[in-house]
């Protein structure tokens, strides 16, 4: 019997053939169905467009204004989650007739006062927002803000509501670089109103915040003008003023607003006499020395001179406080000079001996960290604390200096060793060459 011959049994053949012939016409149909289902599942938005008459009409409209809102919605964060027109504007999206305000719940363009309520219908719902991991306290925060109080209590149409910052249709997630509330765009969004002189005139508000902010250290980091600094970590407008509870930080809040990030400065500041005075007289605040909006890169030069926000602006030059400031300035300057010298020695070592200086650079990073700490410690106005930190940095610098000296010394020793070695090698060479030539002469004599 031949192997596998049972497969060739004649009675099996018609059954298999029948099955194959019945499956063959169904196969393209099945494939077609799978294709249709995949298309439908993949294109939720196109499906929504087909069934949503608002979108189909607006997208097909020849008027730019009418078409733009639909185009913007398609790119918004609401489109993928199918938050369509009727959620805000009401009406029947399946109707083919033109909507009429008041009929079928259609409200047309909602008024400014209506907007926070409309947004919060979804954005205040914890069950709905949970799946998108979005906070739900925006409306409450907005109600407590100056914007919210002005709009809701006084019906002031000048203030910002949700759509003024987030846009009405082009609503994008904050991490989208094109979003108006993205970390790098939010200052410009705020400035659309706050840099408008006509709008701000009745309220007596300044309009130069954005230009000042862009020049500030914070602004330069956010706009990526300073290398090796993370723009996400520097504050933009909401960093100090709050996100939805937008109002100027109160006198007592200024320190708190700064302390949110500058924890070490706070720690040292609390040890100072200024901290006691702040509680008593509400002065001096952070902004009195560092300014606000146009906060410059802090420098030890603040300790000298009579210019505004310098020590001399409050303390007379002969006073003990002013002298203390001068000593702090001298300490920091001296330490920075020493660090620069050590760094130049490391660079010189690299240039001279082409050595691997990564371990020295790591130690230098420690020095830099300690110096930064010392600068922060000046907030304590305590010379002893600052000296202690600088001493720590000096110890590390001494270690670096010793290692640099050792490297040079070793290089010298290696040279000397080579000189001795070459001397020995030359002597041995001469001796053996001489012996060889003697042997050669001797052999020639014999022959």
């Amino acid at each position: 019997m031949r192997p596998l011959s049972f497969l060739r049994k004649p009675q099996l053949r018609p059954a298999a053939a029948a099955l194959a012939s019945s499956l063959l016409p169904i196969l393209p149909l099945l494939l077609f169905l799978i294709f249709i289902m995949a298309t439908l599942l993949d294109c939720q938005i196109s499906w929504a467009i087909q069934k949503n008459t608002c979108l189909s009409c607006h997208l097909g409209s020849s008027k730019h204004e009418l078409a733009r809102c639909a185009q913007q919605w398609l790119k918004s964060a609401h489109a993928p989650v199918s938050v369509c027109c009727e959620e805000c504007h009401g009406g029947n999206p399946t109707s083919s007739k033109a909507p009429i305000i008041g009929k079928e719940g259609f409200i047309g363009s909602p008024s400014k006062k209506q907007i926070p309520g409309l947004c919060s219908r979804c954005h205040d719902d914890p069950l709905y927002m949970r799946k998108y991991d979005i906070r739900i306290d925006e409306e409450n925060q907005y109600k407590n803000s100056v914007h919210g109080q002005q709009l809701l209590n006084n019906n002031n149409q000048d203030v910002a509501s949700c759509v003024d910052c987030h846009d009405s249709h082009d609503i994008r997630k904050p991490d989208d670089p094109q979003s108006k509330v993205n970390h790098q765009n939010i200052a410009d969004t705020c400035a659309r109103c706050h840099a408008d002189r006509n709008l701000m005139k009745p309220y007596g508000l300044p309009t130069d915040q954005l230009s000042k902010y862009k020049k500030s250290y914070h602004g330069q980091i956010v706009y990526q003008q300073i290398e090796r600094k993370n723009p996400r970590l520097a504050p933009s407008c909401p960093g100090c003023h709050g996100i939805h509870s937008g109002k100027p930080a109160g006198v007592s809040e200024v320190a708190e607003a700064c302390n949110n990030c500058h924890l070490n400065c706070k720690r040292y500041f609390q040890k100072s006499i200024h901290s006691l005075l702040l509680k008593k007289n509400r002065k001096p605040r952070c902004i009195d020395c560092h300014g606000y909006h146009d906060i410059p890169i802090p420098s030890e030069e603040l300790f000298a001179g009579k210019a505004a926000s310098h020590c001399g602006a409050c303390h007379p030059p002969e006073s003990a406080e002013y002298q203390c400031g001068l000593r702090l300035r001298a300490l920091i300057k001296q330490a920075k000079r020493e660090a620069a010298l050590t760094q130049s020695k490391i660079n010189q070592l690299k240039q001279d001996l082409d050595l691997d200086i990564s371990s020295l650079n790591l130690k230098m990073d420690d020095v830099t960290e300690n110096l930064k700490q010392a600068v922060k410690a000046t907030h304590s106005q305590d010379i002893q604390i600052v000296t202690q930190i600088i001493t720590k940095a000096r110890k590390i610098m001494n270690t670096i200096d010793q290692r640099i000296d050792r490297c040079y010394q070793e290089a010298r020793q290696r040279r000397e060793w080579l000189e001795h070695m070459l001397l020995f090698i030359s002597a041995s060479f001469a001796l053996i060459a001489y012996q060889r030539s003697r042997l050669k002469n001797k052999l020639q004599d014999i022959h």
């Binding site: 070695m421 070459l422 090698i425 053996i432 060889r436 030539s437 042997l439």
Partner: protein, 364 residues
């Protein structure tokens, strides 16, 4: 000296072909051989020493091979010393080299000598190769030449495998690039790449493989083949004019010590598989090969794979041609007087192309 002649005992009554006669004859020859051996050994030591020390005229052609021999054992000794402290693991290879270079007494010197040694060895190997190529028509034994070509490839393998061992950025990415080349060959390329790397990536497996290759497999093979190379050229392992060789070793030691002190082996950055470097360049001795691939890539930028395959085929072809060269070259006999100038001219042309490619690769 008078040599005693011993005749085998001869029995008249036995016929010359009888077994007894044959046995006696054999015994007699044995005695003769034994006595001769004793005599030569008694006279040999002084004579042999004299023979070894006898100064001969210095000829570069006979020295170049011996320089390779001396550099090889210097490399062996310095390599064994490094082996005492080197740890062949991805996590510790770099640190152990750092320890050898920075913390051990004269560790920098041993590492420097080992590093410069391979450069000098390859340099003298290339000199030996070009010199022998220029006079291939005088080649006495084909096996010497073929073994020489295999030895040249083996030194390349030793150099390449040793280059990865410090596990620096340069060595890691050079190995990645080199092993990736083979993947371009259809069908066999990918399995060969995986075989060399011991996996899809250059990893611990690759390091272990290259370590074994560098310290044991390739050097052992090299020693066996080098012995064959030396014996096939009818040379003795103990060279004539021993003093000259002592002088060569002294000079080599001086050069190696100077290079290791004045241009010591540095610690580059540790290998980081997540951070590729842009400008990967091989060691100078592979620069010509590298430039060939670069030129082929420039010729057909759209078909990278084809140019790589062509480059690999070209290399295999060149080495095959070199290996089989003695079978084509007629010896300089009779009317073949044209062979000498022709060989020298072709060798000079080949050397010029090699140097030009090396320079181009270095400057690109």
């Amino acid at each position: 000296m008078k040599v005693r002649r011993i005749h085998p005992p001869h029995h008249i009554h036995d016929s010359p072909d009888s077994p007894a006669v044959q046995e006696n004859q054999l015994q007699g020859y044995d005695n003769l051989y034994k006595n001769k051996k004793e005599e030569t050994s008694s006279q040999s030591m002084a004579a042999a020493l004299r023979q070894c020390l006898k100064p001969e005229p210095v000829r570069w052609s006979s020295c170049s091979g011996w320089i390779i021999f001396h550099l090889f054992w210097i490399e062996g000794i310095s390599g064994i010393l490094l082996l005492l402290y080197y740890r062949p693991t991805v996590s510790e290879a770099y640190e152990s080299i750092q320890q050898i270079t920075n913390n051990l007494h004269y560790g920098w010197l041993i590492r420097g000598v080992h590093m410069w040694g391979i450069h000098l060895l390859i340099l003298s190997l290339l000199l030996h190769f070009w010199q022998q190529l220029a006079q291939i028509y005088r080649l006495a034994w084909k096996s010497t030449w073929i073994l020489g070509i295999i030895l040249m490839i083996l030194i390349g393998v030793i150099g390449t495998s040793g280059h990865l061992l410090p596990w620096t950025q340069g060595s890691y990415w050079a190995t990645t690039f080199l092993t990736q080349l083979s993947a371009a060959v259809p069908l066999v390329g990918e399995p060969i790449k995986i075989l060399i790397r011991g996996g899809n990536e250059v990893s611990q497996m690759t390091l272990s493989r290259f370590f074994a290759l560098h310290i044991l497999i390739a050097p052992l093979l090299f020693i066996f083949l080098a012995l064959g190379h030396i014996f096939s050229a009818r040379r003795s392992l103990i060279p004539a004019d021993l003093l000259l060789h002592v002088l060569i070793v002294i000079i080599l030691t001086g050069i190696l010590f100077s290079l290791a002190t004045l241009y010591p082996a540095r610690m580059a950055q540790k290998a980081d598989p997540l951070n590729s470097i842009l400008n990967i360049k091989p060691e100078w001795y592979f620069m010509a090969s590298y430039e060939v691939f670069q030129l082929l890539r420039k010729i057909s930028p759209e078909r990278q794979n084809v140019s790589i395959i062509f480059g690999i085929m070209l290399h295999i072809g060149i080495f095959l041609l070199l290996g089989l060269l003695p079978f084509f070259v007629p010896s300089q006999q009779g009317e073949n007087t044209w062979i000498r100038p022709l060989t020298i001219a072709l060798t000079a042309a080949g050397l010029l192309i090699f140097l030009a490619l090396t320079l181009l690769g270095a400057c690109s």
